[in-house]
Symmetry: C3
Amino acid sequence: MVALTLNDPVVQSYIVYTAILALKMLAMSPMTATMRVMRGVFANPEDAKAGKGKVKFDDPIVERIRRAHLNDLENIPAFWVLAALYVTTGPAAAWATLLFRVFTVARIIYTIVYAIIPIPPPARGIAYVVALTVNFYMSVQVILYYITAI
Amino acid sequence: MVALTLNDPVVQSYIVYTAILALKMLAMSPMTATMRVMRGVFANPEDAKAGKGKVKFDDPIVERIRRAHLNDLENIPAFWVLAALYVTTGPAAAWATLLFRVFTVARIIYTIVYAIIPIPPPARGIAYVVALTVNFYMSVQVILYYITAI
Amino acid sequence: MVALTLNDPVVQSYIVYTAILALKMLAMSPMTATMRVMRGVFANPEDAKAGKGKVKFDDPIVERIRRAHLNDLENIPAFWVLAALYVTTGPAAAWATLLFRVFTVARIIYTIVYAIIPIPPPARGIAYVVALTVNFYMSVQVILYYITAI
């Protein structure tokens, strides 16, 4: 059995990258709200009235940010749980930390090229696939390690 | 290093508020389903046929509940992981418990004023910002505490 | 207090089913991407250009997969946290493992009958309610166990 404590470098690495990813994901909310106010497009009639705008669900800028945010929801919580479980399989600390860094950087790049400075393909696709590959890799490693408990 | 056990008041507080938030979030699903049946608006042709309704994606009541639910997905799983990590930084138990209570109450108020009894702005916005602030605060505290592991 | 280690059968069972569910959920992303390319329907103008398709938000096949994916986001992360907390309440290992298996199988069936081989109601509804019931049950058990910490 792997014995883990909060002093472990790999545990601390997991914690700090998880918190950075959470902060990044949470930042999408004020970004959407700011853009809604700036562009006067809202999802609810009462908001449109308060913001002197209109109800609109197809504003290209707002919807890009919302798609980037939804993509975060599809990938980042999965990282939070998979990376925690992966740490329990006793990976080399340097390798696990590298995976966490690569995932985090890929998701930050994904957000930038999707929602902030749109860059033509394939920048977003590469960032997306890199992060997804880390998640797939960790999930398979965890399943193989604990397969007897199925 | 902070040594944590399931006997810790702050750990138990984390667990109970996390479970309450999960229950609240899960409750959005039957709320949506009930409203779909009552109003005869469905997302799939086979459901519309079975429910003697029609396929419709812009019913104002159903879409309000769905937006409240999506907003839960954007904020509550982030709380689950951030609050757990925040506990490992050794906060004062009373302060951490207060944060968990404030977040939980704010998200319950958010749901009520968004999806159940629509109240004019800024009630929903305040509840939303209060909960988001707790998440931002915890993420920054965690990052600062473990920054050397980056 | 329940003392838990990574050697516990119920902990290992939790880990393997959590990883299987993550893998299943992550698989929705390439499924959506593949279907977008095959059907030539994209969410962004730059993707449509690169894929020689068009921007379209109402393709019935792509939207079914997206709804199945969103439903995963509403239920699977809640399972990850609730099942972990439920394990700390010291359930019988065989019973907890049964719950994890039922949830996992129900979510896999849900995905198949929703996004892969559409089957008329109520197959999808039953799979959905079974998984939701497991989540509700675990959340109530956790709240009752830790209620004094509220």
